[in-house]
Symmetry: C2
Subunit: 133 residues, 2 copies
DNA sequence: GTTCATGGACTACACGTGTAAGCCAATACG
DNA sequence: CGTATTGGCTTACACGTGTAGTCCATGAAC
């Protein structure tokens, strides 16, 4: 189940579209556009359509004709894309060093008491349990 | 010292150049190119020069003529750029939610016991010392 | 059935980015 | 001093990206 498919490069704006698709699929262009405009009313339907087409061409999405309209489906999982983007970011901005990166985030943003606790718990578990659901 | 200067958008490749500059400045183009090729021999001097010029135009670097050559100096600090890039990444990939992001990294990469401890310490301090002006 | 609206395909276009080459002036070398 | 070299300035060019508009077919509304 881990075919390690090559994740295409997803641009900034394309990420928004992908997230709209991941939010629930299969989904028609209309539904996706609805989600996009809900989050940000400045989205232009035509723009969204162009992005959808590009994502299909890139191999990030697939579609299936359903009558006169398409239903889109992701070909790459959010996990995969998140992993790829994170890796790239880590490399580019922190030269690949994880600790400075984590330090930066923990420092830069105030975490609530709860978040800290949860994160701490995550640290504990990550070591002892290392299990992947 | 915190003029909060607008950080220009630094592209992937430009990051490499900036890091070479941050590594020690002022530095001549020659020195910078040396550092770049040291890290990655495929760097072409002309390409590096183009990038330097672009970074100057963008306002990320400044230079001062020193005889027939320039010495470059960053106009934006690594801290600033790291912060900006991190913010953008966090927004794009994790919708701005810090915790899932941290969770992802803690999960995805195996941290050594020491790193975990350090990170945990960081969490403790972050809270107890939370000096927020 | 004719018309309008909806949805997809194709086209447009400027700016960013990666990757250099060509040109020109000053300097170092002989 | 003349020449080769070095370093900067200008130009090139293809592909990616953000942002749409136009064209065309099909289904919905009358």
């Amino acid at each position: 189940m881990n075919a390690q498919v090559k994740v295409p490069r997803i641009s900034e704006t394309e990420w928004e579209v992908m997230r709209a698709v991941w939010a629930g699929h299969p989904a028609t262009a209309g539904e996706i556009i609805e989600r996009l405009t809900a989050a940000d009313p400045t989205w232009h339907p035509k723009t969204a359509k162009t992005l959808l087409a590009r994502l299909v061409r890139k191999g990030a999405l697939d579609y299936e004709a359903q009558g006169r309209r398409y239903v889109y489906e992701p070909l790459v999982s959010e996990r995969q894309c998140v992993a790829a983007a994170s890796e790239s970011f880590l490399e580019r901005v922190f030269g690949g060093s994880l600790k400075p990166m984590l330090a930066h985030f923990v420092e830069s943003r105030r975490l609530s008491r709860e978040e800290m606790d949860e994160l701490r718990a995550l640290l504990e578990n990550g070591l002892s349990k290392g299990k992947r659901p």
